[in-house]
Amino acid sequence: MAADRRRRLGRDAVSVLEAIALRAEVGLRVYGDSARAVLRSIVDATVTLFDAEAASIALYDAASDRLVFEVASGEQGQGVIGLSIAPDQGIAGYVFRTGQALALSDAAHDARFGRAVAEQTAYVPRSIVAVPLVSDDRTIGVLEVLDKRSAATFSLRDIELAAVFAGQAATAIGATRVERDIGSLLESSLRALADADVPEQATLDEIVAAATADLGRDDSSRLWPLADVIARLRTADPDQLELVTDILDALHRRATRDSRRRRRSRPDGGDTSESR
């Protein structure tokens, strides 16, 4: 009985979640750049305010279990973009794991706190402040500021100030309303759907895996260039947007008609969904 209900819930949930996942993936494409733009403006502002050599934001990527440097600013910051580190290593890892902000400097010693990243970028900072990015009680990443030009170390006030910028960044990420991790979005949606009848974790994982199976990996899908075009249209004026919507609507109606016609013309009336 229970297994039966779970299977039914699973089937219904998969179709609902497929729809959510598709929207989220399209949303990610459409809004992804604007979220990045906000983050970039935050690190730009951070560098200016601190008069620092560099600032960067690393976000946790659950799929790869890595902290990935998403944006950076300042002359010495660019090399770090796209690099990733283990989430329990180095200063960024410590701050990410513990939520505890720190400022360090090696003004007097040969410290090697930035070693992992420094080796990859050939830039070794003399001082660093790192604060957690916290969204909904969860640490989602780390903001780092490197080498304040006017002083050898960062002060307590600097840590608090950096935290304000980190708060802005975390808010910006939340405000795009696009979960970076579609898996966790789906899981939370599913929990909300299931409510009193919460399925086992393993069942949840299966359902989420089924709903996201075709996403992300198929970068060659023709849908994505379209989503990219739509993303660029965000700045269009309302009249133009209405026109585009009408055109797409007409195209959609025609595509549906065509596919119906094709199905009828098949002698066996079989399933046409060959691409799964």
């Binding site: 009680d137 307590l156 304000v164």
Partner: protein
């Protein structure tokens, strides 16, 4: 929104605000000599729940008597021997070095909770703390905190368990304004940083939640690979108070966590 409305926990201890801390204490003056004069921390075991402690680091002075790490299992995480005694960051060694500099005879125990598994953060902490309570540790240095409301009940239960089990938890407030557990529970000694460059200067703040301010700005600390760096943050203020507590507990072995906290408050700078 709420984040910006919350106070910065080190704010009461910065120079321009310190006048607000002065008050007439209820017991008159308690001499530091009574509280810990002649004490070197002998017979006190201090656990550092952190990133590990480097066994051979000169700053630790050979006082690391045991090293453990929390290992995740299919069930609850367990505490296992960590004979290599590594520090994956340097932070735990920094804390141990500070404690050792104040209480040179205190025994140090490392329980490393930073590992490759991030999901069991609350469970890892719980395993480490329960282990400490059950193994005769009397002071725990905790420079970790969480703002997760989800972990609130677990942390609350554990800190009470420690308090009732005669284990003093010395816990760093988060540098980032906002909730930080377990540092905001009344059963722990919570610490933020002040800006006076002196390990023997500490302040008592009669307006909780954060009750103590200790040296935490530009502190010269031990770091990984036998190195040293200059560090700032509440997590470096915390081991200063843990070291002082070790001195008090060595001199007054019967003092409870409540009495140790009262002595720390009564001997604080005014």
């Amino acid at each position: 929104m709420t984040e910006l409305d919350m106070p910065a926990w080190s704010e009461p201890f910065v120079s321009e605000r310190r006048a607000d801390l002065s008050r007439v204490g209820p017991f008159g003056t308690l001499e530091r000599d009574f509280a810990f004069g002649g004490s070197d921390g002998s017979g006190v075991r201090v656990a550092v729940i952190d990133s590990g402690i480097e066994k051979d680091h000169p700053a630790v002075g050979g006082r690391l008597v045991a090293s453990y790490r929390v290992e995740p299992t299919d069930d609850d995480p367990i505490v296992v021997d960590d004979p290599d005694a590594i520090d994956v960051v340097g932070h735990g060694t920094a804390c141990a070095g500070i404690i050792h500099s104040l209480a040179p005879a205190a025994e140090l125990i490392s329980i490393r909770v930073l590992g490759p598994d991030n999901r069991g953060k609350g469970a890892n902490f719980a395993a480490a703390l329960i282990w400490a309570i059950e193994h005769g540790v009397t002071i725990v240095n905790l420079s970790l905190s969480s703002r997760s409301e989800e972990l609130f009940p677990l942390f609350h239960e554990l800190t009470d368990e420690a308090y009732f089990g005669n284990v003093l938890l010395v816990s760093a407030a988060n540098n980032v304004p906002g909730p930080s557990y377990p540092s905001l529970f009344s059963s722990v000694v919570s610490v933020a940083a002040h800006d006076v460059a002196d390990p023997w200067t500490w302040y008592y703040n009669p307006h909780p939640p954060v009750e103590f301010g200790a040296y935490g700005l530009d502190v010269d600390v031990a770091w990984r690979d036998g190195g040293r760096i200059v560090a700032t943050g509440n997590s470096f203020a915390t081991p200063h108070i843990a070291g002082l507590a070790a001195l008090i507990r060595a001199k007054h072995p019967s003092a409870t966590p409540f009495e140790v906290k009262a002595m720390l408050a009564a001997t604080a700078n005014r």
